[in-house]
Symmetry: C4
Subunit: 366 residues, 4 copies
């Protein structure tokens, strides 16, 4: 803790950019590395989820991502559940240059969410035989929970900028997370959270996983607009401690810590796990795939808030197919391709064979 | 404290950019948040004042700002009190590009201040039925105090780069602040100050509020010219401690701490309050309004000093109407619109319902 | 050590850019400075090696570098040992602008290494009468060791991104460094390593020198791709401590610490020695010579990895002949020419006459 | 002290940019401020010297600077003492754009220094009735000392990149500073030095003042070329401690500490005094005067070193006459005009009336 001034102290917090992992005295062959990710009843080929953002996940890319071995999460409050045929809007948002204004995004997303579209989109994914996951915000979770549950899914994701277990409101009946999760017959992943206390409370609601983050990164302007910023390395390290304490308190329930956002390159994913995360939820790296619905653009939920938008629609390079982005081979030395190979290589180069041990690797601050 | 070298130590100081607020374990509905600001006998709709700068406040915008719920402060040493019809000069200063030189500013502002124009401008604001406030520098405060007081106003603002309670001069009779404030029949807001000691002394003069800052920010070049710099987060935190100590020493007089300058985006206002400020005096955010007299330019008093100018005339984007800038809705995700909504959202997202409690929120350094 | 968060601590690490050497109370005439470098049976005129990179060392430049007094190391896995006549490929790689893609590099370097070309290239250097050194990666060292040894050389360099004394693999029989070095009749220089522990283990294998670094610097993108970064000042200082401890443990065997990469200008070489290095292996400074095979471009081994390239081909200025770059005179005040003169000048200006003592000079952090 | 790594520790050092001065609880009228500078028998109107650099001081500008109240120091190893009529060369160096290469500078300055030109240039200044000062490097000081002394001057300046009291050389008889100064009948100002120890030794030689710095700043590339860097705030603070200790040790001899270089704007001069300097030797601020011989360019002695140049010729803006630069009025808010007024303003704004007390003002690190 450091003095800001006479009446305030603060802790220095670290982003993933501020840290790096250190080589150790051991190296391993890459074939010895196991990066399978087991959560609830399912084992994935790698510890990476696709973020429920319209520029990243459509029903089609969720299926493709699942077929590669990962968990694709569909945004159930996006264009696919507001419009029966959103293709023209994706064309507009993808093709246009900087001329798509925040006002236009606010207009497009003013269209109400349709329950029947939720059902249809989730069924499409389930029919493909891959794990099914959909995301709602805390504000809409209760309203559509039944629809979602009936549609059948493997993971229910409740994702907001700041999700707490203790939301107080006069206007609306706040979501009682503990009861909600208890009554739901599906494992829930919930966040964003960014502190030890919030994470501990979310873990106590019965969540299978918590998302660490506060409104993404590449597209978010929360720092400028509301002054809140959550350097990711510190946030993950704090929440990992909550996981450890809750594991003890609960007598053995292991809640997965999932870093959400602020990981633009494969090296960031490596660092997130090294800070204590069990898995990483990816936005911008997947928006760079040629199949990504954003077609070279990337935007998050905050970009279309009706009175206080806190996100940008940003341009991203299209670097290769979704398969190349995830599994390689890479033809670009900048951490945008072969994300899975990069994680395996990082672990092999530092002598680790599994993620759980890798979480203890030494970091440096630079 | 850190060693600069063998004969000097110094404390690390922090700007608002260096810090951010942290989420807490609680969130609230935005409708539960109360940001009313009560100072002296008046309650404002939000804790924000408009800075007495010619590019920001004209009689017309002071009225408009008051009607939105805030306190607009008119510069009583600006063009409106030097010229009966300053419109042509505003045209020149607003329309022109970079060609308006410092020399031209020095020329324009060489025109003397007229007492009758002070009277007229203040009456115009009072007639509109909004709270009236005008600002003079310490150098002219005594000379025009009678004029100002007779014109009738709710807050008298004495604003300079460095205002102390102990000014020593050979050439002129220095302003005796304590006596001046005692004799004046209007609450006084005085500053800028930047340290615990100066703030404490200013509080003892009987001021209702102290301005924290040293020559603004966006337009100031004090650091380059005279080597003085006052990182705002540290300054506010130090002055907030003076408020606490003076509250005790005075047996309960609460002097408002008003951050003045260095807040270009709504997130900065949030951080200023989080550091301990009761309210924020805004320059550049209001210069971005379409009605702002600066017409896309912004400049401060220091820009026209006759022998040692210490400020620039800078270009600002015009982002929306004054109402949109203050109350939204925002169509820009960069913290330039809906400043009031952003403050409410920041407090709601971190679980606070009032500013006084929000001053205790945890910060991080990044 | 500093807290990253509740479950992780990390040490601040320093790059050469973060530090500088301090003047002392003594200065010396430059003619009193002795920078000879003695390793194994050979004395070199200056403590600098040329890096085994295709853009830096050809048989011809290895000879030229040796004639100037240094140790040139030929890459035995580069174009000269894959192709009998690589000149056309060097033309393509050197002449072309940014259009040479990573894919093209991967294609060119897919050609297998030929044993007979290793023999031929090394003989060419030996025939010129200068010390002979060639480099292989740990992966190929065993396969070509016999060929290399028979070709006759003064130093065998085993150089990889991360080389450890304890490599574990399922797929291949890992290189047993200690046995390999013991059986080889040539002194071995081995690395990159970056930590005290790894360096100590490498020293125990019997190596004559260890390379400090992790995948070069100017061209490497390891930080972005796999999250590993090794700030050089800290790495050298750590490995220098291993040298000291091993010297004691071994009863007097002095293993040379050779900084490898991250030294773009002569001042960086000075700082590397000041941090504790005995010598510096140079890439980019030599790629700037007009004779350099890269012809104005520079790239490392990592640039052509088949599935996970971690290096860029970067443009460098051609500043003068190899002789001018090494011995001057310099006509460029930016640390790119007269590297040897710069080292001598730095030592003279701070009052040192030999490198061993210069390793103890005081540094500052800025 | 902080660990660089296991075998090295270093202190954090601060440049003038890293620090700023803080307001105090007192302000003063600017007319109460006294900035006279008394050294040896002479009192100057302000504590600023003009640096002996060809782009700054000609005989004519040395006279003009003296007439304004300062001490102009002529470079006795520059074009004015190498060439009888250097005007054409100044035209070439001033008029030309980037095309004047380091090679051309090396060529021009290869011309030998002429004793009779030293005599003539110094007489010209003396005849104008202003204090006379000339600078030589340690290498030439002995050779031309007699000439200089006979020409008559008020201050003899020995100025080099690194000047120590203990220079060891095989090739030449090193300058014995203590004897040299003892035998000379003129007060000597000597430097650059950058540490407590060197400064203390230089003070013991009998110097009237020591220059703090290591090869200027705006034009120097010492950091890149030889790895030496001397952050100015720390250097001044260290040398000021040597002044204090030597004052005690010598029983009352006060040696002036003169910051030399790294002060591009008036705020930097303020900070240098606040760190403990008695006066400031200025290069780039004076190169900005319309009369400056550099005609919009600035270069130092290191730019023309025959084998290892360590300085650039850099472009500077011409902002006003020498009188305007020093005494104002300023028409530029960037710290380039009215340097003297800026110092007075800084002291008045922080409540100081004399430099000696101002050296104790509090600093912040930002």
């Amino acid at each position: 803790m450091q003095d800001i001034g006479r009446s305030k102290r603060a802790a220095r917090s670290f982003s993933l950019d501020d840290v790096a992992i250190m080589p150790t005295r051991r190296t391993r062959g890459i074939e010895t590395v196991d990066i399978d990710w087991r959560i609830d009843a399912i084992t994935f080929g790698f510890p990476m989820l696709a973020a429920p953002m319209d520029s990243v996940m459509s029903p089609a890319t969720a299926i493709a991502f699942g077929q590669l071995g990962g968990l694709g999460v569909l945004n159930l409050e996006g264009l696919w559940t507001r419009y029966a045929d959103p293709e023209a809007l994706f064309e507009e948002l993808g093709a246009a240059s900087d001329q798509v204004t925040t006002s236009r995004l606010q207009e497009i997303y003013a269209e109400p969410i349709k329950a029947e579209l939720i059902t249809e989109r989730l069924r499409q994914i389930r029919d493909a035989g891959v794990p099914v996951a959909g995301a709602l915000s805390p504000q809409t979770a209760q309203k559509f929970a039944g629809v979602v549950e009936n549609a059948g899914l493997d993971f229910f994701v409740i994702r907001g900028t700041a999700v707490s277990a203790q939301h107080v409101s006069n206007a609306t009946e706040p979501l009682d997370l503990a009861r909600f999760i208890y009554e739901l017959d599906v494992p829930v992943i919930v966040g964003g959270c960014a502190t030890y206390q919030t994470a501990l409370h979310l873990m106590r609601t019965g969540a299978a996983g918590v998302l660490v983050g506060f409104g993404g990164a590449a597209t978010s302007t929360n720092a400028q607009v509301i002054g809140i910023e959550v350097p990711m390395a510190t946030a993950i390290s704090d929440v990992a401690e909550a996981r450890r304490d809750y594991l003890d308190e609960s007598g053995g329930r292991y809640v997965h810590v999932i870093a959400d956002g602020a990981m633009g390159h494969s090296g960031d994913i490596v660092k997130a796990l090294a800070c204590g995360a069990d898995a990483a939820m990816l936005g911008v790296p997947l928006a760079r795939a040629t199949e990504a619905p954003g077609q070279g653009w990337h935007w998050g939920q905050e970009a279309w808030h009706e009175s206080l938008p806190r996100g940008r629609r940003v341009r991203v390079d299209q670097v290769g197919t979704l398969r190349e982005v995830m599994l390689g081979p890479s033809h670009s030395p900048d951490g945008t391709m072969n994300l899975v190979g990069a994680l395996r290589r990082a672990m092999a180069s530092t002598g680790y064979t599994e993620v759980k041990a890798f979480q203890r690797i030494d970091l440096i601050i630079h």
